[in-house]
């Protein structure tokens, strides 16, 4: 198995599946659905195999594949995974699989719908495994187009058109800034065209920012840093670049929201960890406090706005902003624990928010409204739904024994260390107040989630919903793996944390 290019297979299998699906006649919707699901399931199996074949305790890239592609300007086909990317590489087919399983109920333009999801999976996996920035950028941008169509065609009319183009333009604006910063880094990575490189590991070694300073461009490194950061922050999304997210989420179809929140947002967080500390160590240290403040605002502001939402889906969307704020905060701390926590939080949030969006979608399927006030007392008639909802809400608000708790705890430890300098780290953030205030964010999350549970599930039953049916077996099957994962990671986080540790250490060393 050592020679088998398993990462390439992971990236391109969904794409091949998409091509196969294209050739299935439009009328045979069930065949389209089965073929797509089989493809995603196969890639999930591949991802599991890849993870199993990885060695524990090594910080470097594993399962590397490298081939010359465009030597004239230093571009290669370079893939690899480490402790930071592998959990996300595994998460991608998992969440896509559950989203597509849930999508069995889709009846409108089935073929295109599934093909778009497969392309999307391909692109996201590509971002997580690409070690060449050119390749990375291609996958990064390709992920936009399918999502645009998923929101626009299968979303909730008529506002979904606006949401779709807003999503596209907003994220594109970020990524073109990143492109310019990337080209600038490329320029200062070598003396001639062929000697320059887009390779991420090479760039980290050569530190193009030093070249920029040597060329007398004192502000360019910082501009490049912010170019990259804004590109990523829009994707995460981090305050103040978050305004596309509530629109996109509310209007997207359920499976679209699941993939958007569960996976697409992770692209930003992953890229922040992978690129910012390694390419811009000096700038990272200078900007850590600013980034930390933005993260903190995301946490608190996101949670506060979530609390004020009358719309269930919008509430979950804003809660994502809050939770992803922890990811950014962990990264800004630059500590091992912070980065470990950030990766853990991404994985855990991928499970939890997918579940929340599925739950919202299930409710919408029955009642055709997201207005929280129109619900009430559902616990009396849909006990299974009620149980799962409470379970996931507890996970999301950071109840101990659930994955969210571990993740946020690790981020808080990292942030505290970065504030005080205990644990041998540099006091990048300068004050423990970042940690203190972030704890407030957890409290707020508890408040809005419990309040939502109360408003939707408790109280008197509204007569409209007296005939509401409980969850189908398919829906339970979609949610069960997410619940199991949350609980398992919450009770037994050791293996995953240990898996992330060496790579997190390697990243952290750049800035500490």
């Amino acid at each position: 198995m050592a020679e088998f290019p398993i990462l390439s297979a992971l990236v391109f299998l969904p794409l091949i599946g998409a091509v196969v699906v294209l050739f299935i006649p439009r009328e045979r919707a069930d065949a389209v659905k089965s073929a797509s699901l089989a493809t995603v399931a196969a890639s999930l199996g591949l991802a599991a195999m890849a993870w199993a074949s990885m060695g524990l305790g090594t910080a470097g890239m594993q399962l590397e594949e490298k081939a010359s592609w465009i030597p004239q300007i230093g571009i290669s086909y370079h893939l690899g995974v480490d402790g930071i990317s592998m959990p996300l590489v595994f998460l991608t087919p998992l969440v896509t699989l559950l989203a597509l399983m849930y999508s069995w109920i889709v009846e409108d333009r089935v073929k295109e719908y599934f093909v778009f999801f497969l392309i999307l999976q391909s692109a996201m996996t590509g971002v997580f495994v690409a070690l060449d920035m050119f390749l990375f950028y291609i996958f990064w941008e390709v992920s936009l187009v399918p999502m645009y169509f998923l929101i626009g065609v299968w979303g909730h009319k008529p506002r979904c058109e606006y949401a779709a183009i807003k999503f596209f333009l907003y994220t594109l604006a970020g990524s073109v800034l990143m492109l310019l910063a990337l080209i600038a880094c490329w320029w200062y990575s070598g003396p001639t065209l062929g000697q320059r490189t887009f390779d991420l590991l090479e760039l980290a070694e050569r530190q193009p920012t030093l070249g920029m300073s040597a060329a007398g461009l004192a502000t360019l490194p910082m501009l490049c840093f912010w170019g990259f950061f804004i590109g990523f922050a829009i994707k995460v999304p981090c305050f103040p670049f978050h305004t596309w997210l509530p629109d996109a989420h509310v209007e997207a179809p359920t499976a679209g929201s699941v993939v958007l929140a569960g996976l697409l947002l992770k692209l930003g967080g992953y890229a922040m960890i992978r690129i910012l500390p390694t390419l811009f160590p000096t700038q990272f240290k200078e900007a850590a406090v600013t980034v930390g403040i933005l993260a903190l605002i995301s946490i608190i502001y996101g949670s506060l706005v979530a609390m004020a939402q009358p719309n269930l889906k919008k509430l979950i969307a804003y809660s994502s902003i809050g939770h992803m704020g922890f990811v950014t905060l962990g990264i800004a701390s630059g500590t091992v624990e912070g980065i470990q926590g950030a990766v853990f939080q991404m994985f855990s949030h991928g499970l939890l928010t997918s579940a929340l969006f599925l739950l919202a979608g299930i409710l919408y399927e029955r009642a055709h409204t997201y207005e929280i006030d129109r619900y009430g007392g559902l616990g009396q008639i849909v006990p299974v739904y009620c149980g799962i909802f409470v379970f996931i809400a507890m996970g999301s608000l950071g109840l101990p024994s659930m994955s969210g708790f571990v993740a946020e705890l690790w981020v808080l430890i990292g942030t505290y260390n970065a504030g005080t300098g205990v644990g041998g780290s540099t006091a990048l953030l300068g004050t423990p107040w970042f940690a203190y205030l972030a704890v407030g964010g957890i409290l707020l999350a508890a408040a809005y989630l419990l309040w939502t549970v109360q408003r939707v599930l408790m109280g008197d039953l509204k007569p409209d919903w007296a005939a509401m049916k409980d969850m189908t077996r398919l829906e339970v099957a979609c949610l069960a793996p997410l619940m199991a994962g949350t609980l398992w990671l919450g009770c037994y986080p050791g293996p995953l944390l240990a898996f992330i540790l060496p790579s997190a250490k390697a990243i952290s060393q750049w800035v500490i």
Binding site: E141, V145, I165, A173, L180, I183
Partner: protein, 507 residues
């Protein structure tokens, strides 16, 4: 003579079509278009082989294979060979996408339309070859005059006539301005040979030919020289629709028959940029001291991009929208023109962008042509619900839109990447211009995908499936393949563009 093969083909094609025009109508003309396409295809393949051969030989050896009387006014370097092959490709694609038009719409002298396309393409090829001001001017006029006739081919439609007249009047004025500039330069130096002019303007030693002709040296900072050069810039600015000389473009594009518009949006534009490469980048760019035209073109470049894109957002007629989009694309290419300090990237960037531009613009226009052949109109509401009527057209548009907007993995992305690489060069440092460029790319997504929105998100009044015509369908397929295949072939493309562009100092 071997290396003049593309020109000979185009010339033969034009003459052949003129003869055919005497006795064919309707279906016959369509068949002629198809023959023309196959001839061009064969020509492109041969041209590429010749190009590979010429690159292998190197510019000097290639030049020696050409008789002296031709080599005086006709450059036989890889760059010119590349552009003449591109002209052949444009001609071939134009034959394809105008097939239904000459068969069904054009009642009078349909084959003349094809002949004019061939002659205009011949003009483009000759512009690329020109190594003398006079040859260059004549070739540009060949392109322009064929263009005036093409836009007025629907003789009974007032809008087509208006377009032709407008194009003619403005074209004539711009030619006159350019000619005035050329005569100033000639008057000051006494030379029309571009190689001589390169040495005569600015510093540098005189070429052997120049000494024979008794050429006068002038400084590139001489006000008269600057005036002459700027007049040429204005003239060329009209040809490529650079702001503020773009006013004719939307009106002409909208009024002209759609296939003519499609051709005009790529053909004359390519010719204009080739002329810019020859005149501005290779001739009037002294190796030391400031380049006289750089500053004004720099500002106009930023303006061209921005105005083109912003105004395109307001258009509801697709031909008008694509007209403004083509103005914007001129702006992007001008980034590479003003980044000429980036010796190893600026010319390849132009070469690459032009290849991508031809493919994606022909593709996008072919979609418009295919629909306009059936619906007879080009406003954006004609596209409502197209994704259900013809998924092929709708998804093809999405790919072309991605490419036009510069979203990977398409040819347009490679073009933009190279252009921005040139602008961010350490020797150029046009950071602000690159930022303006990417901001424009984001704006452009809005209007390209607004069409996609009508195709995919809006329900159409008409729902019956569309049968895409043979010619337009093939043209779309070919451009689609080209747009997508260039990314995996990128390394080859780079080597190719780089070696084709290695003419500095050698020609």
């Amino acid at each position: 003579m071997l290396f003049l093969f593309p020109e000979l083909i185009l010339c033969g094609l034009g003459l052949g079509a003129t003869v055919a025009a005497l006795f064919c109508r309707g279906r016959g003309a369509g068949r002629w278009a198809l023959y023309g396409f196959f001839v061009c295809l064969a020509g492109v393949v041969t041209g590429l082989c010749l190009l590979a051969y010429a690159i292998d030989l190197g510019p000097e050896a290639t030049g020696q294979l050409t008789p002296e009387f031709i080599a005086r006014t006709f450059a036989v370097d890889p760059l010119s060979l590349f552009f003449s092959t591109l002209a052949l490709a444009v001609c071939g694609l134009a034959m394809l996408f105008s097939m239904e038009f000459v068969e069904e719409v054009l009642e009078e002298h349909p084959a003349e339309f094809l002949a004019l396309i061939a002659f205009a393409s011949l003009g483009i090829a000759c512009v690329a070859r020109s190594r003398d001001l006079i040859t260059l001017f004549f070739s540009l006029e060949l392109v322009s005059i064929s263009g005036y006739l093409l836009s007025g081919m629907l003789r009974r439609e007032p809008r087509s006539l208006e377009a032709a007249l407008k194009y003619f009047l403005i074209g004539a004025v711009s030619s006159a301005i350019m000619l005035f500039g050329m005569s100033l330069i000639y008057g000051l130096t006494g030379a029309t040979d571009l190689r001589v002019l390169r040495d005569a303007v600015g510093e540098g030693h005189l070429h052997a030919v120049g000494q024979l002709a008794g050429v006068r040296m002038v400084s590139s900072q001489d006000p008269m020289v600057i005036t002459g050069i700027l007049c040429i810039v204005v003239g060329l600015g009209f040809k490529i629709a650079m702001v503020p000389f773009h006013m004719w473009c939307p009106d002409v594009y909208e009024g002209a028959p759609t296939p003519a518009t499609a051709f005009l949006s790529v053909g004359p534009k390519a010719a204009g940029f080739v002329a810019i490469v020859r005149l501005l980048m290779l001739t009037f760019a002294p190796s030391s001291g400031p380049v006289p035209w750089a500053q004004p073109v720099l500002w106009l470049c930023a303006l061209t991009m921005t105005l083109g894109n912003v105004v395109a957002c307001r258009q509801t007629n697709l031909k008008r929208m694509l007209a403004y989009s083509s103005i914007a694309h001129s702006g992007y290419i001008l980034i590479a023109v003003v980044s000429l300090g980036s010796a190893d990237l600026a010319l390849p960037a132009i070469v690459m962008y032009l290849i991508a531009y031809v493919l994606m613009n022909v593709g996008a226009f072919s979609v418009v042509i295919a629909l306009s052949n059936i619906e007879g109109r080009e406003d954006i509401h004609a596209y409502n619900g197209l994704s259900k009527r013809s998924p092929y057209l709708a998804y093809a548009w999405v790919i072309f839109a991605m490419s036009l907007a510069g979203v990977p993995p398409t040819a347009g992305f490679l073009g933009k990447l190279y252009v921005f690489m040139a602008a961010l060069d350490d020797r150029v440092r046009l950071y602000w211009l690159a930022v303006v460029g990417v901001a424009n790319a984001v704006i452009s997504v809005w209007y390209y995908f607004r069409v996609a929105r009508h195709m995919f998100f809006v329900e159409g009044v008409r729902t019956e499936p569309i049968r895409v015509g043979r010619g337009a369908g093939w043209a779309i397929g070919l451009s689609l393949a080209g747009t997508l295949v260039l990314v995996p072939l990128f390394p080859w493309l780079i080597s190719f563009a780089t070696s084709a562009a290695q003419v500095l100092g050698a020609w």
